[in-house]
């Protein structure tokens, strides 16, 4: 059989072009260069900029402090879109324990860390094809929110 190195090169380059983009595994996490108050503002702005309503801020460190446990600033931000959640919970009540959506944020020294359960994990847990676009939409939004938090610097 005649050797065709140029063909092998073409296939190799094609493979490189088609390689999947990088994705983090496990939890979604990002480090913000901002101190907690500024990072919190950035996070809330990033969430609302994507059409979500923030429904509640769970004050974790305050509840710990009431029982004299020490913790740095720590919040859970809950958010969602009314029409979407109303529609989903009526049709798929099994999703309710995971709603509304949430992102955890806490201080680490002069920086901040945000953490969330990746919507991609919900896609694995609830493999109904009809839900796939919903989870993919959330995943896209979460990635954008986390990128914004990671990349925003200064006050």
């Amino acid at each position: 059989m005649k050797s065709r190195p140029w063909l092998a090169s073409c296939i190799l380059w094609l493979g490189l072009f088609l390689a999947a983009p990088a994705q983090a595994e496990g939890l979604l996490m990002a480090r913000s260069q901002q101190m907690f108050p500024e990072a919190m503002t950035t996070l809330q702005n990033a969430i609302t900029a994507r059409g979500y309503t923030i429904t509640r801020l769970q004050q974790v460190n305050e509840n710990l402090a009431k029982m004299h446990f020490k913790s740095d600033m720590y919040r859970v931000v809950f958010f969602g879109k009314y029409d979407q959640i109303d529609r989903l919970t009526r049709k798929y009540p099994e999703l309710i324990p995971y709603l509304p959506l949430s992102i955890t944020i806490f201080a680490e020294g002069n920086q901040s860390i945000v953490v969330a359960m990746p919507p991609r994990a919900l896609e694995e847990m609830f493999p109904d094809p009809a839900l796939k676009p919903v989870f993919e939409g959330w995943q896209h939004d979460y990635q954008a929110i986390f990128d914004q938090v990671r990349e925003t610097t200064g006050f």
């Binding site: 490189l16 999947a20 595994e25």
Partner: protein, 349 residues
Amino acid sequence: MRFITAFLLIVLAAAQQAVWADAPDGAKLFAQNCAVCHGETGSGGIGVPLSLPSFQATVSNQYLAATIRHGRPGRVMPAFTRLSDAEVDAIVRYIRSWYHGPVPTYTDAPVKGNPEHGKQLFAEHCAMCHGADGQGGKGTGVTFSRPRGLPIMPPALNNGGFLASAPDAMIRAVLIHGRAGTPMISFVKAGLTKRDIDDLVAYVRSFRSTEKTSAAGSVAGLQPDLIVQSPYDLKTTLHNLTQAIDSDNFFVGRDQPVEYGLTTPDKANPHQVIVYFCDVPFLNKALAIDPRVGLFLPCRITVVEHEGKVTLMAVNPEVVSKLFNNSELDELCKEMHDRYLAIMQEATL
């Protein structure tokens, strides 16, 4: 034919230039995947201080790449299986940009030693930090929001990810040189002989046959919710639920519709009610094990009236815990799973 070959070469050259222009950006990849735990400059935190010169002086590029690939099952560091080889190499190059000394390389050849004698030496010199069975230090990292007792968390030497990444020769080098800036001392300076060091390496390698760490990972196919049917109506179930929560030593916070805050109170679906509660000492314990547990907060059980049936529902903590890759947290989530179920069953008796 020559024309076709020349044309293809031009196309390939252009393609190669385009690929180089799009070559993986190690700094960006590090920021996206690693900085949250290792710090943006590799100063450490939940993860090893990668920029520490004594760390860089004893690890090979192959070890760094293998660690990215294998992670540390059950010890927070995930296995980055979705990164391409080029991306892993780019991250390794970026990590190396903090270091200007010679980069070590190691042979994969096993070190011959007496593991039985190594076991005795391990108990005497290593177990106080690395644990009696090489299981490593407890807790999650150094800073990560909460005070820690050590400048670095002693690694789990019996971890499958470590054993698959570190060749014997590297383990020996670390034992010989120690890691300045951490509690890991040079055991040659501490008086051990070359034979002792080799015996220790042989003992550490013997963990491979006993390590039980399970990989974190996929939640596919697992039951994501805890679900218990109630024989009562919504109002009675809610009343029973708050009593059951209270009797399990939780503090009952509030109840609200799932759609609270998303619409006006009159429009929120009254047939889906979340009951929030908390056991603050338990929370404090969980945060000490893994500060990312905010994903579970606050504790909640939702009562749903759907098509005439009343159901209690909660997140299955055992399933969500798999995403954390933290075996210590797995134990706590098993406890939480049992407490959730006990409350839900008591409320529906």
